[in-house]
């Protein structure tokens, strides 16, 4: 600890603390401009000048560490003058085009000038004009307005890791630009816009949409991935015009392209604004009464004729907890069927059941902020950048700021590779072999967490015995990696106090239950559940998958995981039921199985057989065209309620704008249907539903309170950790079948689900689907970048433009899941993320 005096007050702080932070502890604010708490100090602007007794020149408080016994002065006439001079110098070349500058009114430079009383300009000079970068997508850069605080560069490099922009040139010609001078080519997260104190880096879609202070700001939670970032909708005239996030949020103000720019889907011309009903084969607009009356009558007719089991519903990870709760209530209580499921059946539901059995918890064993300070991290079968960007930021933070060891196990060279100490590029379908190999290597090297295993687990001996009969060499071969690389990875992960095990779609959807059990075993070997910083984290691309399961949108359990008395049909049983004619009515809530589900061709055929297809969604699609009744619902910005992340944070969303046209909030639609079916009164507000949902689930509680303008206070009870964690029996991994080509279908960072493909903003940087082919394969098959490729699995083919790349192994093909035109997932079998295919030039 170091003691010092600031403005005559004594303070004792840990060594290495900056003068700025030490002063903050005393409640002394030193003015800053280039300082940004979440990145390393820059020390460029010199506004934070302080005097240190005995030092002949001013020191910068933001990056000068404290020293024992120093006497610091933060306010004096000389300092005020020095700070003012800095501001005046900054303005010598600043255009002062504030009247038309996007940052006007929320500009750090304006604020600093005001605060430091730089109200007069003694200096004048001929302005040097530098070209404005109009040729970037989504962002515009006006270097003339730049004060070179470097916040954008630091956020880009230290938090996002895109390394897209840099300080270039020297002297007064210094600007922030792309390294190669070409148009910006990055993740387009726009976190640099947020960091920019001036109007240098601005959002193109937001430019000239209005003065910042004229918008209504609604604090809410992002509706894309399951990171659950806290956001602010800025709306005017019932239109969301931008999304921002503040550095004081859980996510530190960091968003991804979907969070920051994806809001444009709200304003897509495809939005459903009126209910539709089918009349004589044609769909016509209807008022709510007519659409509801028709739907209820038809439902009653089917139930009367074929029983309630002839009705089924598929829910959505996009809707709120309250809506999921009402949806299962509609099906179970109002209609009387247990046939309810969702896309969680593609893997997450089963994975979560496994985790629940072992760790006692639903979803992750800890909140994701624990990842920040983990000592070792394994990311397996997951492209975090695409599946949960906010979690990726945390992994990057752990790896770069806290020197965590990072092992990446992925079939592709995903972004995290550049931070990884080891990258295990395994063969498609070899997740189980790889994890078993890792466990074998850990045990071989004696790197398991012996203390934890002895104190808190059971079944270790059996696992050890099962692994003893396995050869590391053959496991490595089956996984397609080297034995040495498995041992190396084991050494990075083993014998660490705080380990985080993160796994995504390739394990959850592709690997199946046995693979999830193996991941759990691996996490137990490493002592991950005991870790103060770390844990086990399943990753899901869509935001409210956890809340949806908590609410009982599943055939086997009711809200709060109470078992269903008579389990209904699951997703694939529902599809089979339709095919067999036993399921006659299907209610699809915010769910488009034709867009991104495996076996979508099969589902399309099945849907045509239904007597009643009710689709409740926000935009027109091939699916709504098939529906007998279409209810126009509301998007996340247009409703209230709550979302629950896989790490069990319950967050409220607040309504920023009203749904377009006659569209209504989904809880309201379902609530009215229940009322019409049962005669019970319809809930008047979402708050009523929240209370009902809390009581019914037994695990949700708390009440909404505004904290700093953000609705919070809802909670979810976590069951106590089990006394002992049971290792699962080891499954002997079979070597995956050798295919000439394997297609991997997954998300990419520019999109989330299919929702973002309706966002004009996202489409400017990622307009359409593609088929990524390894350069060696492309050369062999005569495929050129941009040329057409046909990929065929079983009897289904897709065709798309080729993207020749070095990011994937030879023999593998990658196609993004998001695009309705490409329909990449139509090639996949029911529970898989990869499939053997034939590839040819088209």
């Amino acid at each position: 600890m170091v003691s010092l005096t600031i403005d005559g007050k004594n303070v004792t702080v840990p060594a290495g603390t900056t003068i700025l932070d030490a002063a903050a502890q005393l409640g002394i604010t030193i003015p800053t401009l280039c300082w940004l708490q979440k990145v390393s100090p820059t020390g460029a602007c010199r506004v934070c000048a302080v005097e240190v007794e005995g030092v002949d020149r001013n020191m910068t408080a933001c990056n000068t560490p404290v020293k024992e016994g120093i006497k610091v002065t933060t306010q004096s006439e000389a300092l005020t003058a020095a700070r003012k001079k800095i501001m005046e110098l900054m303005l010598v070349n600043h255009p002062l085009d504030c009247p038309v500058c996007d940052a006007g009114g929320e500009c750090g430079l304006q604020d600093a000038c005001y605060e430091l009383d730089a109200v007069r300009q003694d200096y004048s000079a001929v302005l040097e004009r530098r070209p404005i970068r109009y040729d970037w997508s989504l962002l515009e850069s006006d270097p003339n307005r730049c004060i070179l605080c470097e916040k954008c560069v630091k956020v880009d490099h230290e938090i996002v890791g895109a390394d897209a922009i840099a300080v270039v040139n020297r002297g007064e010609a210094t600007i922030i630009d792309t390294v190669d001078g070409k148009p910006l080519n990055c993740e387009f997260c726009g976190n640099c816009i947020e960091a920019c104190p001036t109007g240098t880096l601005i959002s193109k879609p937001f430019k000239f949409r209005g003065r910042p202070w004229t918008f209504t700001v609604t604090k809410s939670v992002c509706g894309f991935c399951s990171t659950g970032c806290q956001i602010e909708y800025h709306s005017r005239n019932n239109r969301v015009e931008r999304v921002t996030s503040s550095d004081t949020t859980y996510n530190n103000g960091n968003l991804c392209i979907n969070g920051r720019f994806g809001y444009a889907y709200l304003n897509t011309p495809d939005r459903l604004t009126v209910p539709l009903v089918k009349e004589g084969g044609a769909q016509v607009s209807a008022d709510w009464n007519r659409a509801m009356t028709g739907a209820v009558a038809k439902l009653k007719e089917i139930v009367a004729g074929a029983g309630p089991q002839a009705v089924a519903g598929i829910g959505s990870p996009r809707v709120t907890n309250e809506e999921s709760y009402l949806f299962q209530k509609l099906l179970r209580d109002a209609i009387g069927t247990g046939n309810i499921d969702s896309e969680a059946r593609l893997g997450y539901a089963q994975a979560q059941a496994v985790l629940q059995g072992i760790f006692g918890c639903t979803g992750a064993s800890a909140t994701i902020d624990r990842i920040d300070r983990a000592q070792a991290i394994l990311v397996i079968g997951c492209d975090l950048n695409a599946e949960s960007t906010g979690v990726e930021y945390r992994v990057i933070k752990a790896a770069t700021k806290n020197d965590a060891r990072l092992v990446l196990a992925n079939m592709r060279n995903v972004k995290l590779k550049k931070y990884a100490n080891a990258h295990l590029s395994y063969r498609p379908g070899a997740e189980l072999a790889l994890i078993t190999g890792l466990m074998k290597a850990i045990l071989d090297e004696g790197l398991e967490n012996k203390e934890f295993i002895a104190a808190a687990t059971s079944g270790f001996a059996a696992l050890q015995g099962a692994l003893a009969s396995q050869q590391l060499a053959s496991l490595a071969e089956a996984a397609g990696v080297s034995e040495a690389s498995l041992r190396e990875a084991a050494r990075y992960l083993g014998k660490k106090k705080d380990v985080a095990v993160i796994f995504g779609a390739d394990v959850i959807r592709g690997g199946g239950v046995e693979t999830v059990k193996a991941v759990a075993n691996l996490a137990l070997l490493l002592g991950a559940p005991m870790a103060e910083n770390g844990g086990i984290f399943p990753i899901e691309q869509k935001n409210n998958i956890q809340g949806m399961l908590d609410m009982g949108v599943a055939p086997d359990h009711l809200p709060g995981y109470r078992p269903a008395a008579a389990p209904g049909k699951d997703l694939w049983q529902i599809v089979a039921g339709i095919e067999q004619g036993t399921v006659k009515a299907l209610y699809l809530l915010g769910c488009d199985p034709l867009a991104t589900f495996p076996e979508s061709d099969r589902i399309r055929k099945a849907l045509a057989r239904l007597d009643l297809l009710i689709v409740q969604d926000i935009a027109t699609s091939e699916l709504t065209g098939l529906a007998h009744v279409v209810f126009p619902g509301a998007a996340a910005a247009e409703k209230s309620g709550s979302f629950t992340t896989p790490d069990n944070r319950v967050q409220c969303l607040s309504r920023a704008v009203t749904p377009p046209g006659d569209a209504r909030e989904d809880w309201d639609i379902i609530g009215e249907l229940i009322s019409r079916l049962t005669g019970a009164p319809h809930a008047r507000s979402v708050a009523e539903v929240t209370v009902e949902m809390q009581e019914a689930s037994g695990i949700y509680g708390g009440s909404c309170t505004l904290v700093d303008g953000r609705c919070s206070g809802l909670t979810k009870a976590m069951p106590a950790a089990p006394a002992t964690y049971a290792f699962s029996a080891a499954t002997v991994p079979a070597a995956p079948a050798v295919e000439p080509f394997t297609l991997i279908v997954g998300p990419i960072g520019f999109h989330n689900g299919s929702m973002s493909t309706r966002s004009a903003n996202n489409l400017t940087v990622s307009p359409a689907g593609f088929v990524e082919v390894a350069s060696a394969d492309a050369a062999r098959l005569g495929i050129v970048d941009g040329g057409s490729v046909r990929v065929t699995a079983a009897n289904v083919s897709i065709t798309g433009p080729a993207k020749v790349s070095s990011r994937i192994q030879a023999g593998t093909i990658f196609a993004p899941v998001h695009f309705r035109d490409l329909k990449a997932s139509s090639l996949l079998p029911a529970n898989a993320t990869s499939v053997g295919v034939k590839v040819e030039k088209a």
Binding site: R57, Y123, A125, V167, T174
Partner: protein, 420 residues
């Protein structure tokens, strides 16, 4: 007069390895590795009073002693040969004549600090010095004087040469380390100082070419003898001076520290060019305040020059005759510094171009009396910057204001440059 660094010089060509050795070269290395401990070498350098010859004049042995003793892991030595200070060409002259004393000095320094990997960061365009050094390094390795297990002592060290991409700021030691690491050559915040956390986060010593080249003499002949080379009691050793401008001899010369400015100009420099009268000079490279004839009796040594209001700097003496416009000369220097600012911190990035603009205005006859006060203000505020570039750039401006304010006023009142 005894020569230390130029002792081996051959007319018109570099000294050969054989000649250097025959004339006592590498004797210091033999002596150190066989008879002296690293601490002995460090102590000798401390006792010698050797001060950094790159411009700042920091005591070399003291700099070495900041390197933590028992820290595991690598530590580095960097020879700063990014000689870009206008008016300075001593390192080039030295390396064109003799690259061996630097190589020997680096091995000695490496031995004293415990370095196994050293770098020479050399200015872009210094092709001949770089070629000489490459040659010398190869010969030294061949002779077992560099590389693995030097002279059977168990001490190993490699030297790599890095040719700079070319920017003045790379000569600033922390910017230099960034450049070596392959990132933008911006200076780093100090603390931590390089001796604690330098290249790739490891303890690092950065020394100038001339500084390191003096080490063999100190080790071979002892600290006392080296100290005695200077003519002033507080001075120590010889110094390379590089005169330029309106004097007769503009070649690099090795002179004892402590000779007065007048002695140097009238003696080794051969006086002013015919028909020229001395008006002022830059005493130690572009970033030092001017001296006039009033300073002829100032001993050219670190402390004495500082006491007289300037800095010994690099020893680059630029002499101006009576016909030189000091506003124009200062503008010329300011243009250089404004261009070479890395652009990081506000005062330097915004302030230097502004000073340049004011001087341009004055020189062109458009100056206003208030400009003098604004210039003075900048001399004060540009002191508060990230690194020493802007304060250095303000050296000549400070000198101009102090010694030639009348000349500035003349520009302003006549609304033209009186020298044109």
């Amino acid at each position: 007069m005894e020569q230390v660094l130029f002792r081996h010089n051959k007319p018109g060509r570099p000294v050969t390895f054989a000649e250097y050795c025959a004339e006592g070269g590498f004797a210091a290395l033999h002596k150190a590795l066989k008879e002296l401990s690293p601490d002995d070498v460090q102590r000798a350098v401390i006792d010698s009073g050797l001060r950094g010859r790159g411009g700042a004049g920091f005591p070399t042995g003291k700099k070495w002693s900041f390197v933590p003793r028992d820290l595991p892991g690598p530590r580095y030595l960097i020879c700063n040969c990014d000689e870009m200070e206008p008016g300075t060409y001593k390192d080039r002259a030295l390396l064109e004549a003799n690259p061996y004393s630097l190589v020997e000095g680096m091995v000695l320094a490496g031995y004293a600090i415990g370095v196994s990997h050293a770098f020479i960061f050399i200015r872009r365009g210094y092709e001949l010095p770089a070629a000489n050094l490459r040659h010398a390094i190869a010969e030294a390795k061949e002779a077992g004087l560099l590389g693995r297990n030097i002279l059977g002592s168990g001490f190993s060290m490699e030297i790599d040469i890095h040719l700079s991409a070319g920017r003045y700021i790379c000569g600033e030691e922390t910017a230099l380390m960034n450049a070596l690491e392959g990132v933008r050559a911006n200076p780093r915040a100090k603390p931590p100082f390089p001796a604690v956390k330098g290249l790739w986060g490891r303890p690092t010593v950065v020394n100038n070419v001339e500084t390191l080249a003096n080490v063999p003499y100190i080790v071979a002949n002892g600290a006392t003898r080296f100290k005695g080379l200077a003519t002033t009691p507080e001075g120590s050793g010889m110094k390379l001076f590089c005169p330029s401008g309106h004097v007769r001899n503009t070649v690099c010369m090795e002179l004892p520290l402590g000779m007065t400015l007048g002695e140097i100009i009238d003696g080794p420099c051969g006086g002013m060019l015919p028909g020229k009268k001395f008006k002022a000079c830059i005493p130690g490279g572009a970033s030092t305040p001017y001296f006039t004839a009033d300073h002829f009796n100032v001993p050219m040594d670190f402390d004495a020059v500082a006491k007289a209001g300037s800095r010994l700097g690099t020893g680059g003496i630029v002499v101006f005759d009576e016909q030189t416009c000091m506003v124009g000369a200062t503008l010329n220097l300011t243009q250089f510094f404004a261009r070479e600012s890395c652009g990081w911190c506000t005062p330097c990035r915004e302030g230097l171009p502004y000073v340049r603009e004011i001087l341009t205005r004055i020189e062109a006859g458009g100056g206003e009396p208030e400009d003098i006060e604004i210039l003075r203000e900048h001399v004060h505020y540009l002191n508060y910057t990230f690194c020493a570039l802007a304060p250095g750039a303000m050296g000549p401006v400070e000198g101009l204001l102090q010694l030639f304010e009348d000349e500035i006023r003349e520009h302003i009142t006549k609304r033209r440059c009186p020298f044109r």
